[in-house]
Symmetry: C2
Subunit: 199 residues, 2 copies
């Protein structure tokens, strides 16, 4: 059965990026290494969780996670992710500005969706078939999905830092009952998994 999963690296205080995200600083000010060291410096130790991040049949992400900026698209810019993005599946990017799909190497195609999270999820479910749909971020997008009660499983990768500012998870989310699935500490991160309980 296809599930909607969320996979986010976050500081202990729930920030998933610092302020002032830009082309040069996709994670904003002073957050990149704190949030991603476990992925780069301890990839083998965290292999299971890293593999799971891209193990989905389709992805949904906010515009900031595709590229910086607002307003009309600069079509020469094809995203943070290089010519062979790690998704290897359709990715539905939330935006207010239409743009034709961008087919990349390795099976990743970015589709641009102007109809909000409901349309993005409908398209992603169709594309994913029996596989999971992953809400890849950022925080604002995850918060929208949580607030709408659309998430089945929440996977947080909690890094040992308080960032104090930036893009924060769990802002504007409603009360949500969870069931703990697992907690695993490695040298640089603690992986927490929860299922969202349905009434």
């Amino acid at each position: 059965m296809s599930k909607v999963v969320v996979d986010m690296a976050a500081s202990l205080d729930g920030y998933t990026a610092g302020p002032n995200q830009s082309l040069e600083k996709p994670f904003g000010d002073d957050a990149f290494t704190s949030l991603t060291d476990w992925m780069t410096q301890a990839a083998e130790e965290n292999k299971d969780e890293l593999d799971a991040i891209t193990d989905a049949g389709a992805f949904v992400m906010g515009r900031n996670m595709f590229g910086p900026g607002r307003g009309a698209w600069d079509r020469t810019w094809r995203g943070w992710w290089g010519e062979d993005p790690p998704y290897h599946a359709p990715v539905f990017v939330l935006t207010h500005h239409e743009r034709p799909a961008e087919k990349m190497a390795g099976g990743t195609t970015f589709h641009f969706v102007t109809g909000g999270i409901d349309e993005a999820l409908r398209l992603a479910r169709e594309a994913a078939g029996d596989r999971n749909v992953s809400v890849a971020g950022g925080a604002a997008t995850v918060n929208q999905f949580l607030a709408a009660g659309l998430v089945d499983e929440l996977r947080l990768h909690v890094t040992p830092v308080l960032l104090g500012r930036g893009e924060r998870l769990f802002t504007g989310t409603a009360r949500t009952e969870l069931t703990q699935v697992s907690a695993r500490r490695t040298s640089l991160v603690t992986h927490l998994r929860y299922e969202v309980r349905r009434a």
Copy 2:
């Protein structure tokens, strides 16, 4: 060596109490059982962490954690904690309104401190001697200690719920580097311990 430790039960989104705390609802609206079930329903399973909460030579707490209300004291009210509070040590309560100390059974004496967290910590350190000083809460008090760089160890007891509103940890705190110490999941809670890194 005496340390300043923080021990807080919090929802996954960092709330330590719901809104509208009152005499009848010390944890505010709709938060009590979500935050405390692990203490009452699974006390044996969480015995080590529960014992550690009150294993300190002195405690500091915000006024809300002693009793509800603001303004001048109602001296007939002697706190949430009954006649034999669980602290068995001096407790320094932050307040803007002077009040003589309240000596309770079992070694707990509540002292009321009007000089803010620095004075409370100084008095608590003196009282604790070689033992730890525990900042017992609530969130506003813990946030003040974190923002001032006064915490040595942070122990969070993360319960599987998003509360979405209430008293939130890590509001107004500065960037703080941590070192993971441990993570332990039991049936109803995940215990996370961090040391605060000193430059």
